[in-house]
């Protein structure tokens, strides 16, 4: 087996094993309802994590997505409840704003040669501040179109439902996989993650690619914000705090190398599902406190970082021989 598939295989094995363990203890967990809910509850996180996967594949990081999600929620709530705009127009406007915002961050990262970490940190402060300025209250969204969107679902055998947002997440993952492996842009991202200097020599348009990566991350964070506002039916500027960390964790658990250049969008989906599974298990158990989620996810993160290190270590001697 090729070495690059090892982290992905480990992730899938861990997911399969832990799901089997859960089912052995609570047979009810083996139902399409649980799976449907797993998709619906983690839809916004999954969509944002696809953007994060591309950013990390290119060797960068985006800390602003949680703030962008909160901004999107507040923006939609204000525009829909006070502006009287049709939701679809508001969605398009919002996506344009967040995409532009991501593109600007990408441009700053590239042209000012600053670390992505601190530029997106500034972006995080800025967007959350904008959300605060729009409104500090939690605004409920009562638009009838929202109710229509929420009532759409695809019924699975066994009573489970794939809701619109759960389906949208799967669709975004499918498009993400296509972009990563079947387009020139995707190849450029992998090249950039392998090393900027090398990518430049190979003829990768570094500036355009960097800007597009962060624009894509902004676009998906905006989309994730729309999904989040559909999921909660409200906009609140303190919502979605720390989502960027959950997304990074999902990407790492999904087997993407944090130094960039290697990984799979599909792995991130499994990473999201593992996190969701831990939460579902704790809900089913009922006696475990919710803080165990954080500790378990932290431990998993640590285990996967060690696994990555081990793989890199193992692959080194081979390279020298070759």
């Amino acid at each position: 087996m090729k070495q690059k598939y090892l982290p992905l295989t480990a992730t899938i094995l861990i997911f399969g094993l832990s799901y089997a363990l859960c089912v052995a203890q609570y047979p009810n967990m083996l139902s399409t309802r649980v799976i449907g809910n797993l998709l619906t509850d983690n839809a916004f996180l999954g969509i944002a994590a696809v953007g994060m996967t591309f950013v990390i594949l290119s060797g960068g990081i985006d800390l602003s997505i949680g703030a962008v999600i909160a901004f999107a929620g507040v923006f939609l709530a204000v525009v829909l409840e006070h502006g009287g705009m049709h939701p679809l127009v508001a969605f398009a406007l919002l996506l344009a704003i967040t995409t532009l915002f991501g593109a600007i961050m990408g441009a700053i990262i590239h042209y000012l040669e600053m670390p992505a970490f601190i530029v997106t940190l500034a972006g995080m402060f800025l967007t959350r501040g904008m959300a605060f300025v729009l409104s500090i209250d939690s605004i409920p969204i009562k638009h009838p179109f929202y109710a229509t969107l929420k009532s759409l679902y695809f019924k699975l055998p066994g009573g489970g439902r794939i809701t619109l947002i759960g389906g949208l997440m799967l669709f975004v993952f499918a498009v993400g996989i296509l972009i990563a492996h079947r387009t020139r842009f995707g190849t450029n991202i992998y090249a950039l993650g392998g090393g900027t200097a090398t990518a430049k020599l190979m003829g990768v348009p570094v500036a355009a690619t960097t800007i597009r990566i962060y624009a894509l991350s902004g676009l998906l964070a905006g989309l994730s914000g729309i999904v989040f506002s559909l999921y909660t039916s409200a906009g609140y500027s303190l919502a979605a705090v720390g989502v960027e960390l959950d997304a990074i964790t999902a990407v790492v658990i999904g087997g993407t190398l944090l130094t960039g250049g290697s990984g799979f969008v599909a792995g991130t989906l499994v990473g999201i599902l593992i996190q969701g599974l831990i939460q579902t298990y704790i809900t089913f158990d009922g006696t475990l406190s919710s803080w165990w989620t954080k500790i378990l996810i932290g431990l998993l993160l640590f285990a996967f970082i060690l696994l990555q290190k081990g793989i890199i270590h193992l692959s080194r001697p081979e390279r020298q021989r070759a």
């Binding site: 402060f125 800025l126 501040g129 300025v133 803080w291 932290g298 993160l301």
Partner: protein, 341 residues
Amino acid sequence: MIPIMRAYAGRLLPQLIALTAIVIAISMVFPGFLNLQIQNGRLYGSMIDILNRGAPVVLLAIGMTVVIATKGIDLSVGAVMAICGAVAASLITSGHSLAETLLATLAVGIICGLWNGVLVAVLDIQPIIATLVLMVAGRGIAQLITEGTILTFNDPGLIFIGSGSFAGLPMPIVIWLVFSLIVALLVRRTALGMLVEAIGINRQASTLSGVLTPVLLVAAYVLSGLCAATAGIIAAADIRGADANNAGLWLELDAILAVVVGGTSLLGGRFSIAASVLGAVIIQAINTGILLSGFPPEFNLIIKAAIIIFILVLQSPRFRTGVSFLSIPKAAGKPTEREAK
């Protein structure tokens, strides 16, 4: 000695000017701002309040400066604060003496730092990710210690650390003053500071030239853990309780911002403890200023973002080459980079 003094003053000048400008701006809007009074042998006033409220961020910024100088970053300090506050509260309520509690809490901070340091120096994991593990899991651990509640305590000794006073100054100020003096002397009166800078500029080259890179890297993260533990004790003593959910929440970002405002480059290398302390005080002064001047506190984050972007542009290698290129004809032969700053 005088050239050294002048060099220090030059290094701190932008921060000092910024702080003075902020203080003048606030006192124009809010005339009572500069007032200082002595009541019951303790100084009171808005200025003292800024220094007092800023204590946790100042302490975190000291450790963060050294870590950033090694080209690292420590995201876990907020979570470590929560853990240490929880440890202190649970030990003191279970009947341990103040000395035992403080020593054990500081030891926990050191262990957290050791964990981060070993991940970075021995396992060679990027600092953002290595410290992310403790940041994610740390708050869970803190909640495990407090069992999900806010642990309150009434021990007068521990409360004294948060709200007592020594020589007219509130205890938190005394603690960070002493702490920053010790660390600054330790790194600048010995070769340690220079070696840390060497690691930050080129880790491989410093290892090859005989610097004990792993030991110094671990020491930097241990110092950061120790700072976070002290900040955690102060934060817990201030509210007389340990709140695992909110203690130190997002303070790691404020600490990083303080270091950046202090002019230490995130790309590693040269650092200044005094400048970072000033940076932390500037941030706190802005926070207090926004509150006092009646601006809605919502603008706080936007102003912080604007400051980061402004400093990033100044620090950017591209921008500096541009400026020095433009100013070469005027200052022929002089080091233009200092002036560009």
